[in-house]
Symmetry: D2
Amino acid sequence: MTGNIPTIMRVVEAAGFGLDMLRVVDRPVPQPRRGEILVRLAAATLNYRDLAILKGTYKPGLKFERAFIPASDACGTVVALGPDVTRFVVGDRIIPVFTQGWISGLPTPEMRNGRQLGLPLDGVLREYITILAEDAVHAPLTLTDIEAATLPIAALTAWTTLQEGRVKSGAWVLAMGTGGVALFALQFAKLAGAQVAVISSNDEKLARVRELGADATINYRQNPDWAPLVRKATGGRGVDIVVETAGTLSRSLSAAAFGGFVGVIGFTAGHAAEFDLRQLIGPLVRVQGIATGSRSSFEGMNRAIALHGLKPVIDQVFPLDRVPDALAPDRRRM
Amino acid sequence: MTGNIPTIMRVVEAAGFGLDMLRVVDRPVPQPRRGEILVRLAAATLNYRDLAILKGTYKPGLKFERAFIPASDACGTVVALGPDVTRFVVGDRIIPVFTQGWISGLPTPEMRNGRQLGLPLDGVLREYITILAEDAVHAPLTLTDIEAATLPIAALTAWTTLQEGRVKSGAWVLAMGTGGVALFALQFAKLAGAQVAVISSNDEKLARVRELGADATINYRQNPDWAPLVRKATGGRGVDIVVETAGTLSRSLSAAAFGGFVGVIGFTAGHAAEFDLRQLIGPLVRVQGIATGSRSSFEGMNRAIALHGLKPVIDQVFPLDRVPDALAPDRRRM
Amino acid sequence: MTGNIPTIMRVVEAAGFGLDMLRVVDRPVPQPRRGEILVRLAAATLNYRDLAILKGTYKPGLKFERAFIPASDACGTVVALGPDVTRFVVGDRIIPVFTQGWISGLPTPEMRNGRQLGLPLDGVLREYITILAEDAVHAPLTLTDIEAATLPIAALTAWTTLQEGRVKSGAWVLAMGTGGVALFALQFAKLAGAQVAVISSNDEKLARVRELGADATINYRQNPDWAPLVRKATGGRGVDIVVETAGTLSRSLSAAAFGGFVGVIGFTAGHAAEFDLRQLIGPLVRVQGIATGSRSSFEGMNRAIALHGLKPVIDQVFPLDRVPDALAPDRRRM
Amino acid sequence: MTGNIPTIMRVVEAAGFGLDMLRVVDRPVPQPRRGEILVRLAAATLNYRDLAILKGTYKPGLKFERAFIPASDACGTVVALGPDVTRFVVGDRIIPVFTQGWISGLPTPEMRNGRQLGLPLDGVLREYITILAEDAVHAPLTLTDIEAATLPIAALTAWTTLQEGRVKSGAWVLAMGTGGVALFALQFAKLAGAQVAVISSNDEKLARVRELGADATINYRQNPDWAPLVRKATGGRGVDIVVETAGTLSRSLSAAAFGGFVGVIGFTAGHAAEFDLRQLIGPLVRVQGIATGSRSSFEGMNRAIALHGLKPVIDQVFPLDRVPDALAPDRRRM
């Protein structure tokens, strides 16, 4: 164990639901138990999920039960090892896996519901954390701490969606908006030799994604019936993969190619799906719920990131102490 | 060519949309061209699809363009070979493949839209038909002509759904109602060692499917909120595969197991899907449009049918000449 | 913790390589640590792997490093829970998973090489064991302890092979000999509606597998060139799945159907594969190394076993104290 | 039909086995029958397969039965349509599919053995050919006729291997030598964001593939035990996909990553496979026979080629009349 580990750390804690309920408190630095590593966290990222949890709107029936530490995505350095740890050494820079215990294949329902960082497990808005060594991955050497902290949910969800959709060179991918999942989907799709269409309500953001390589961009505010435009951009064939973060399933199906894939991730535009079943049956589309990804997928993704020097798009950065202010109501819109 | 092939045959023709527009007419018996076989049809089966086509309600925007021969499912005997046919010999008992040209893998959009018997291709309500030898399979020796004629749409759709859902011994399958697809799904699921739940509005029919092996039966008229009952029947885990012929996607998702599969086939209860995307995302369900199956799947299915002596459930039988009367309005409900 | 747990237990220990190096010794009963269960073992099974390990022939270069407890397959009852265990309660009857840590999907290389019971982890020839609750499954209620103890390697390997080979009703499966994997493959294949060919050097054993449902049996001593006979039994098409436990890859390929699958498990007849690559290329066969299976597959298999009341075939049973004698040289041949 | 189609065409015909048995003869230009197109061929490519066929060494037991037209890979222009053709119009530039009838999924054994151009079907060393419209694809607009003629076997085999191996951005691919399949595998792997190792006996060729993007190159003449070097180049993990054209299966398995894939295509170094089964079982490798690909895969590949402007590497070009001389013994080594 390195000598300079303090006994007390700062932690951002949610004392209740509501973005004004965050506070910075002191807690003892935990000891790594058998199989665990103690990690000094250097950076954390806030996802849409974190804000929904903080507001109490993440799931129907979600109740506040105890003060908790929010957020799941972070990067840090191993500073101590519990007994029986061989996977890392002190000094390794690591990223915790969002769904703890998910090594490969499908997760179990218990992992999906009970082993996610930020809720129900305490999250990463703190200076130190202990986690099982099996539930972390090496951070890509090509990324800064802040960049590496963006990967666990947004990047891995995008990566998993493209793999489940069997992305190929020459295929078309549709990403929605310019949130984290969409931007990573764009970047990973380009690495894989695919073409990408992006829809957004904001022309500046569309200009930005064109710089990142988007092949077709559509302002859905100006073109509410955007599916035919997406289809036209693909030469009429439709998109092979939809990275469905908005909840616009009917339009996604209309934009999909024969035999295409819709990975359903989010519902920023609402969680009510309404469509005609014939949109699914006629073109033999596959629609599938997507959940971040396993540790094994994470490692594969990191190899791609490191090889290609892919750089995540960073929005805003705050020091840990400033997070409560930064998130307080009327301060921020996501 | 066998000597006793007539030059004129009887054909049931739809002179317009409407169940009263069928008539029996004479037409010349066609000659088999290169690669084709001439088949004397012995039995045909009517599917839900055929009735919808006859009524003109099969697809939005469907227009009557010319008199056509309805129905796709039939069994008959090869009576003559065109040039270059080696796949069959005269005397073979065969079944035409519904989607002509679909040999294996996924069909093409062109096959799916343009190469289906009964529409847009002329169908099987006739005494003789010519088709490409590549687009027919041997009828299982264990089945009568009438039984074999039930396979192309209903049986193969059920078979494909179970395969796409990766049916396993010990898995649970949900079938809806007691139509052809549901009954075949029940029978094939039992052959594969799975358990089957069936929902229906009719207690007599539920008693019947229990005789066929159904492990759990629920009257959805008495239990409109049937999904929790299905789930309870599975010990709480949910069903691994839904053979979704009714169009009740929201309830199907509620009945599905974590990581389960919903094969979307039909919409007897309406084609408007409405559900909460979280029903899909949380349990990582796969939803997929299903289209009968390829010739290669048909052959695999026939091996299972022959091996196990599986017998299709037959409803009513008519001679060809009586089909128009049998289908005339107020005579029949399917 | 239940009151009557002793502090000392009997353990069968290998003091060196060689079947005469086993001895029964006393050791302290371990305490379950965080996430662990303490299990009172009721029955264990010896596999071919265990004997190879005991003889020191399991892997090239295997060296004896320390006294170890052999064997991996067992059934027992949870008698105490370590902190944070929610997966089981005291009194549950469980089976440890052979490859500890393998929950679903593919294992990691680290699991495959370093987390297997019986070597390198201490095994189950003892009265009590502590393992992570995550690394055990409920024993099927339909099985005795002894029967349940046969599942972890032999049954799960057979199950996995059939799943990887996408076993279907009506398919043909080839099993080799009458060892544990082969017998389970036969039983699971029959549950799935498949047909099974078995080869063996012993007519009595072949008579036995016919009673268990084998559809074709071939004495390979009398018919060293057995592949054409297997193919003939399938009507010329070949077998869809080979459960390859013997190491006779060339003959297996000759017996395989176009597009068939060979799951490579063992090498009782030697580990040198020799064949003509055209045997693989022409018929587009898939050949794949197989390793028991994940916890998730184990649970699915147990559902099939319980549903169908499948009973493992038991060979000989010894009390723990008699194991060294039972295995001593010249006492036993496997 | 266009006006200027001659009635007589030149054809290169093999009058027996042996590279000196080719001759240029006149034959009538065929008429397109129902479903067929008449194509004026502009370029053809010779594959390793064609030379083996010409020499009579392609398959054990291959006998010369009649004069035949060799070669399968070509590009040409549609000059006339038979009845019922809608897939192409006169003037379209097309490429015949090597395995005629293979639209998607797996081929049938009948296609694999009986429907391949160049043997047993007459091939493309001629001025005009008729084929079914269903069995051709549009040539990529970005390629010349000669370039397009290289695709049917070499490019599609490489593409299929990478798809079956589930190539991903960040993965490692191993290609053997600098033949057509290897070079296309290199190019497609790079498009998909993968890294590529190439082995060859020739340093100049290795320099050439480095220009094409190879990340690691090894001279196997200087390093006969090349597998550890390949593994080292990947950082110790091994390659995810081997494009196995040489027949060096044992070394390929040694170079493969845990869970990796070996697509077995050819055997330029001999068709006798010899390896230790534990090379397959330990790392859970998948080995699979590979056969070019379906029309549907061909179309997907062509989208990738056109999108990225990928240019095939062309070796030597001859006019049709000069082919016999060019191939005559002592004139050429492949």
